[in-house]
């Protein structure tokens, strides 16, 4: 019999319910109480990866919300991916807490600004944040961009602006970040690879 992972959970939860009730002496048809469905049976399983150390363990993320139009997915459980040849289903004490990382109360939810000299954060819109940041960047770049060095060599660099890039980002945003920054002339660029 071919059984996928989700069907397997359904069979297990049904089997567990059936046998334990039978053991208590009830006839299954006359059951008054019913064992709750295994909660992951109706969750959507997504293959993901632990973002912590470089073992990069395969992770299964289970979310409620079946991807229908108005259902917003919420991750309710995470565990090691048994298919992944490196971690083979295991997670360490760091990775076992991934759900708490996803739902950390310290997640940032909105763009914010702390004005010069101020002692507090202020919520702003994405549009305002991007407008203000890019105004700063353009003013700085136009004032300090170096097209030619003292010898007259074309150097096209902007070295009054710096960027520390994330090693938690995937390869694709990493590449895009590199492309954009080189395009702007940025040379003061580094990443956790160094430290």
């Amino acid at each position: 019999m071919q059984v996928n992972r989700r069907q397997f959970f359904k069979i297990c939860s049904a089997g567990l319910g059936g046998s334990s009730i039978a053991m208590l002496g009830y006839s299954p048809t006359a059951a008054l109480a019913e064992v709750r469905d295994y909660k992951l049976a109706r969750a959507t399983e997504t293959r993901n990866m632990c973002p912590y150390c470089s073992v990069s363990c395969g992770v299964l993320a289970y979310s409620i919300g079946d991807k229908s139009k108005n259902a917003k997915a919420e991750i309710i459980h995470m565990e090691g991916d048994p298919d992944n040849p490196v971690n083979r289903g295991t997670l360490c004490p760091k990775g076992a807490g991934l759900l708490d990382m996803v739902h950390s109360p310290n997640r940032l939810k909105y763009p914010e600004v702390r004005e010069a000299g101020s002692n507090e954060w202020k919520r702003i819109s994405w549009d305002e944040a991007i407008t203000r940041i890019t105004k700063h960047m353009k003013a700085d770049r136009d004032a300090n961009f170096i097209e030619k060095n003292a010898e007259g060599t074309t150097v096209n660099r902007w070295n009054t602006f710096g960027f520390l890039a994330s090693s938690a980002a995937a390869n694709e945003p990493g590449y895009l970040t590199s492309k954009v920054l080189r395009g702007l002339g940025v040379v003061a660029l580094d990443t956790q690879a160094r430290i």
């Binding site: 994330s166 090693s167 590199s178």
Partner: protein, 808 residues
């Protein structure tokens, strides 16, 4: 890693040094346990602390932090003096036979060519002797006093077991026992794997720590073998991928050395980076540099990159000096920077000398934080009592905080430490208004482009013409980006031997980097990822874990760069004739017509053994370097003391103060006064990770914060007694740069060592705590660490510095 996680199971001896895989990489450490259980492999751990890796080892030896080269140089001496090397491997696959310039020498701890003013070397005398055709000269007998083998023997003859023990504090008999265990793997069919991490890199001699062990692995013939190699256990889940994408100033994606002011024209730039083979018949693979670079420019600038404008060479910013993280913060501290962005990076906590970093940030006009979490850096301006004692009203920096998605909230690929690129899928949206990193970069870029198009400004060309072929410009899809990274043909790519034969049709994805061209007919964002998304689709998303060889290669799971190769230098796993050194663990063999086996050959597939094409194809020599003419601080690793050392001098060169610490290590003049001496700070400190935490992230996750809630430091029983400190006491740990307070853990795990005739105590300091998070608010460990970097990588010396300790 030259090998990969699962391959650890194929080892006969596992050495963990400069790392603690059981706690920092637990699910990878599983393969060490597998090797012990299934192969009866032995595990050796050398570390200043008796770690959890040590707890399950077959043999543990303590070592003073920062003396790994003394230890490993001693191992080289042992192997050479006792003739425990893999002779055929060393003679054929390394540069042991190469003749070096007669002017090369080491004198009083300094190699020839030292310039004290610049703290750097002129490497003119570190070069090979060359014949009329420009090939390096060799002495196959290995007898010439100027051949690498003899120079190496002479260099390490000074590393006697007695001196090794005196410098490292490792008992002599422990050291010799480990030498003996390593020496057993000189047998052609025995292998040792080496697992290291930041415990080797985070020193002013970091690169040379690793090189010393690489030399040992070459002498033992363990490179390219299943269960062998030099394996860096890296930090983040995608730090390997971000390194490959080259988000740092020295290189462009695919490790293409970035242009500097000295590279005035494209031709000069390419000529300097396109080496000629140093021995006849060698592959000299970097000769393809122009193809990789031109294809990158086509990915960056599309149709704007033409032959006529040198494929936009002038648009690439040229470097005029160092721009690594420490150099950036030094510039910022000098008031030379206006703006700064931290994308998923928390420098206030993770860079050395927190005070300097905080002072530097306060000199910026604007700071932008792109992060999923409220980081310590994002509140560098805010008073958090004793933990961050600043006055917000006096800090004029405007700070923006942009919410970014976490791993589960975006699709994309991560590259693990074993270079295996694996795709992951999105499980849910991020909270509130958070966005993905690509979307945030697109928002910043597209707005700037709009402003430059409308209002003009300095050099708008590179901005207005940056290729942006994404279907939804504001949301470049990860699939589109990986296809761009992997590369495609812009015009038909034809066979150089038969131009009528089309190898890749215009518009198709390239099957690999061999199809890239330097005439603008191909585009590729990162040549080493070439073929990761071929016409067959997204190979990083493959999930066939079948393993017919039983070696754990899983060639159809994800995609390993380069070319889906799982073990680098795998041609070296077979002898000159192409017969595997160990047929039971065949990685590669000559089948009579081609190279085949259980991996993608790291060799031209039809290079018959009699052609003598050697296995190290990325080196113009074709062989591995026991002597390296390109390192910044010496062609052979030499022991130097950490910048903050408990000793008065370097016991290898007691008469020369200049040779106490790495003479070529990078140190800024303004930081010279920030170093402390053993008189005021008598104890060696080292920083590390705990099994329950990951960097400065998991202090924001409830369960991890419960498991390990408060900052502590570990001290040995002898020091505790001396200082009257009991377990659970609050202690103050001071360096010359500041202090932290934490709870004392008194432990047998840290021994007091006998070093150069005196007792040296070590203090262990976990790094995970800070003033933001769900853990108990605490000090930032990097308040204590020194702002000085490795000569080659500029990585700060977090792992060996001086402190004092007292009851708080």
């Amino acid at each position: 890693m030259t090998n990969h996680w699962v391959d650890i199971k194929n080892a006969d001896l596992v050495v963990i040094m400069g790392g603690n895989a059981a706690e920092a990489h637990p699910c990878g450490f599983k393969w060490v346990v597998e090797a012990k259980k299934e192969r009866k492999a032995r595990l050796v751990v050398v570390d200043p602390r008796f770690t959890r890796s040590a707890a399950v080892s077959d043999f543990y030896a303590p070592i003073r932090a920062g003396t790994d080269i003394a230890f490993l140089g001693g191992v080289i001496n042992y192997l050479l003096s006792n003739d425990k090397i893999h002779h055929d491997y060393v003679r054929n696959y390394t540069n042991a036979a190469f003749l070096i310039d007669e002017g090369f020498k080491l004198e009083d701890g300094l190699f020839s060519g030292y310039n004290a003013e610049k703290r750097s070397y002129d490497k003119a005398t570190w070069q090979y002797q060359k014949d009329k055709e420009g090939y390096a000269m060799v002495d196959e007998t290995l007898q010439s006093p100027n051949c690498v083998f003899q120079l190496m023997k002479k260099h390490y003859s000074r590393y006697t077991p007695e001196l090794v023990s005196r410098v490292t504090g490792t008992p002599k008999e422990d050291f010799l026992k480990i030498c003996g265990m390593m020496a057993e793997t000189a047998a052609p069919n025995k292998t040792m794997t080496v697992l290291y991490a930041l415990g080797w890199t985070e020193h002013t001699v970091g690169s040379q720590n690793i090189r010393t062990m690489a030399m040992i692995q070459l002498l033992l013939g363990n490179m390219g073998m299943a269960g062998g190699g030099i394996n860096a256990l890296r930090g983040h889940a995608n730090v390997q991928g971000i390194t490959d994408m080259c988000l740092y100033s020295e290189v462009l994606p695919g490790y293409l050395s970035a242009p500097t002011d000295a590279d005035k024209t494209r031709d000069e730039y390419l000529a300097k980076r396109t080496p000629k083979a140093l021995r006849p018949n060698q592959m000299n693979f970097p000769q393809n540099f122009p193809k990789w670079f031109t294809s990158l420019m086509k990915a960056f600038y599309g149709s704007a990159a033409t032959k006529e404008n040198g494929f936009c060479y002038d648009w690439v910013p040229k470097k005029d000096g160092a721009y690594d993280a420490m150099a950036i913060f030094e510039r910022m501290h000098q008031g030379k920077m206006t703006g700064f962005v931290c994308q998923g990076f928390n420098p206030l906590a993770s860079l050395a000398n927190k005070r300097k970093v905080g002072d530097a940030l306060a000199k910026l006009k604007y700071l932008v934080i792109i992060d999923p979490l409220a980081t310590d850096t994002s509140e560098f301006w805010k008073n958090h009592g004793e933990f961050n004692d600043v006055d917000a009203s006096k800090i004029p920096t405007e700070v923006f905080r942009l919410p970014a998605n976490l791993f589960a909230e975006d699709a994309g690929s991560f590259t693990n430490s074993g270079r295996v690129v694996q795709w992951h899928w999105k499980a849910a949206d991020g909270p509130g208004e958070s966005k993905g990193d690509s979307e945030i970069m697109a928002a910043l870029f597209l707005r700037l482009k709009e402003m430059y198009a409308k209002d003009g400004g300095k050099f708008p060309d590179a901005i207005l013409n940056l290729a942006w072929p994404y279907r939804i410009p504001a949301k470049p899809a990860p699939e589109e980006l990986l296809m761009e990274i992997s590369g495609k043909a812009l015009a038909d790519v034809t066979d150089p031997k038969d131009p009528t034969k089309v190898l890749v049709k215009a518009g198709d994805q390239v099957p690999g980097f061999a199809m890239l061209r330097d005439d603008g007919s191909t585009s590729c964002g990162n040549w080493i990822y070439g073929g990761s998304w071929s016409q067959a689709g997204n190979l990083t998303a493959r999930r066939d874990a079948s393993d017919p060889s039983g070696l754990g290669q899983t060639l159809n799971w994800g995609f390993a760069w380069p070319a889906n190769r799982r073990i680098l230098y795998n041609r070296a796993s077979a002898d000159l004739a192409g017969k595997p050194w160990d047929p039971k663990r065949t990685v590669m063999k000559w089948t009579g017509t081609a190279w085949g086996g259980n991996d993608i050959p790291d060799m031209r597939p039809n290079a018959a053994p009699e052609e003598h094409v050697m296995p190290f194809i990325m080196a113009p020599e074709g062989v591995a370097r026991l002597f390296s003419p390109i390192m910044a601080d010496g062609p052979f690793p030499e022991h130097y003391e950490p910048f903050e050392s408990p000793l008065d001098n370097n016991p290898f060169h007691p008469g020369n103060a200049k040779a106490k610490s790495n003479p070529a290590a990078r140190v800024f003049k303004s930081d010279m006064d920030s170093f402390g001496t053993a008189k005021d700070f008598p104890f060696v400190a080292t920083t590390y990770r705990l099994v329950e935490h990951f960097h400065f992230w998991t202090k924001h996750a409830h369960i991890n914060a419960v498991l390990q809630p408060e900052h502590f430091v570990e001290i040995g029983e002898e020091l505790a007694k001396e200082k009257g400190i009991k377990a659970g006491d609050k202690v103050k740990v001071r360096s010359n740069r500041g202090h932290i307070k934490a709870v004392a853990v008194v432990t047998k795990r840290i021994r007091t060592l006998d070093v150069d005739g005196k007792k040296v105590h070590t203090i262990g300091i976990p790094l995970h705590f800070g003033f933001k998070g769900l853990t108990k608010p605490g000090y930032i460990t990097n308040t204590l660490t020194p702002f000085v970097g490795d000569a080659n990588s500029q990585t700060p010396e977090y792992k060996a510095f001086l402190v004092n300790i007292e009851k708080a």
